[in-house]
Amino acid sequence: MIYCRNVHKEYRSGRVSKSVLRGVDFEINPRDRIGVLGRNGAGKSTLIRLIGGVEMPTQGKIVRKMTCSWPLGFNGGFQGSLTGLDNARFIARIYDKPYREMRDFIEEFTELGGQLRMPVKTYSSGMRARLAFALSLAIEFECYLIDEVIMVGDQSFQKKCEAAFFRERDDRALLLASHNTSMVKKYCNRAIVLNEGVATMYEDVGKALKIYAEF
């Protein structure tokens, strides 16, 4: 279980401040597939970063009772000047996983071949996403936080991700921020709509999508 209790987040830059989340309350149960819907700037990524522990809430609390991935998105989590394999070695060390197994897995899953020996800053966003997914899958979290990113991959990669998340790991929880309504409809059992800093949880995904469409 992961609980969000009255989570507020405010960003401040000089004298200007913006309140992004204003009291978000919900929980993620094991096996939950939660879609996060909201327009650009509604706070989807912020919510995912807070749950992932990358940033801290201004007020409120997030309690993690299951292991939780870092937010899988276009950026973050990698050192650009290091190669893909060096990054993998670093992540293997900090998550206490054997590097050899991890390397074999990412070589197989990412299909990046020799590119893995190039600095990550030379990767396209699709290649980065492949690496991020492969690494997080190799670690085997109980809850995966996915920020938008499945869509950047090509067809074959999307198929791989679908297989990995929705078939092989259907016992895990998933939080999926996405504008892709068909994907949310297909895979999620619940959905959150973010609007004006407030998150509303819908047990009926169809209803959530309908409300989201009206914004």
């Binding site: 960003y11 401040r12 970063r49 992932g52 522990g53 990358v54 940033e55 801290m56 201004t58 939780c68 870092w70 937010p71 950026n75 973050g76 989590g77 990698f78 050192q79 650009g80 000047s81 290091l82 060096d86 670093f90 992540i91 060390r93 900090i94 998550y95 206490d96």
Partner: protein, 260 residues
């Protein structure tokens, strides 16, 4: 207690991984690799030592100018690098904050430790080479030398813990850090022994753990040739106060860091 030891084990792993990563990114794997870490303090100290010995002659106040300068400049470059690297260290490493087990304190700890290791290697290597040519004394009291160095490193670390979060919230602090190093020089005991100073000034300098550390190091190195002044309880008190302030600040500022 079990949770604490578990967390400690995780931190040890993280710190090890960060050190390796830092060494690879900063120095690469080519040519002498991580040995570069001692190259800069060594070059700096030897150049200044040479210049001083030409300007002031080989001996001053009864100690050799070259060993005096080398033993002062290596800790000084360590301090300078550590302070400079603390500026904006959270944002510079923010990609790593994606991994929850990595804490902002780890960044500071790793940077300062690597600088300290580099400085120690430079001291050892430089000292050995100079000793071979007869320009460096055999340390009179190694224990005192190490104690002084430990006090010096401890104070640098605790100041960095204050500087790093402040530089994150204030542009002014970020810009002032390089200047502050030069301001710190008179209070760091690099150029002189406290014994060469007037009594009142010396009393004030006893509040600086740098001076206590430096005096102990010099006493350990030169033995009876110098008269050291130090105040270990004062140094530890100041260091501890800085450490507590730094830990509080780090915790507060971490909550505000926006990670892109």
């Amino acid at each position: 207690m079990g949770r604490f030891t578990q967390a400690l084990r995780v931190q040890v792993k993280v710190i090890k991984a960060l050190m390796i990563r830092e060494l690879v990114t900063r120095f690469g794997r080519e040519n002498i690799g991580f040995l570069w870490i001692m190259a800069e303090p060594l070059m700096f100290a030897s150049m200044v030592g040479l210049a001083w010995s030409i300007l002031k002659g080989p001996q001053n106040h009864g100690v050799g100018v070259i060993p005096f300068v080398v033993s002062g400049y290596i800790p000084l470059t360590f301090m300078r690098h550590s302070f400079a690297q603390s500026a904006k260290i959270f944002v510079a490493n923010s990609a790593l904050l994606y991994h929850r087990q990595i804490k902002v304190l780890d960044f500071i700890f790793v940077r300062v430790s690597l600088e300290a290791i580099g400085a120690m290697m430079a001291y050892l290597f430089g000292g050995t080479v100079l000793l071979f040519f007869g320009y460096f004394p055999v340390p009179a009291d190694v224990g005192m030398l190490i104690l002084g160095w430990a006090i010096y490193v401890g104070f640098v670390l605790s100041v960095c813990l204050v500087l790093a979060p402040l530089s994150e919230v204030s542009e002014v602090v970020e810009k002032i850090i390089p200047v502050s190093v030069y301001l710190a020089i008179p209070f760091s005991g690099v150029f002189n022994m406290a014994a060469w100073l007037p009594v009142t000034l010396r009393d004030y300098l006893m509040w600086s753990p740098f001076v206590t550390g430096m005096e102990l190091m010099r006493a350990g190195l030169f033995g009876d040739a110098v008269l050291p002044y130090y105040d270990i309880p004062k140094a530890l008190t100041v260091t501890f106060a800085c450490l507590v302030a730094g830990l509080v600040l780090c915790r507060r500022v971490r909550r505000m860091v926006a990670v892109s």
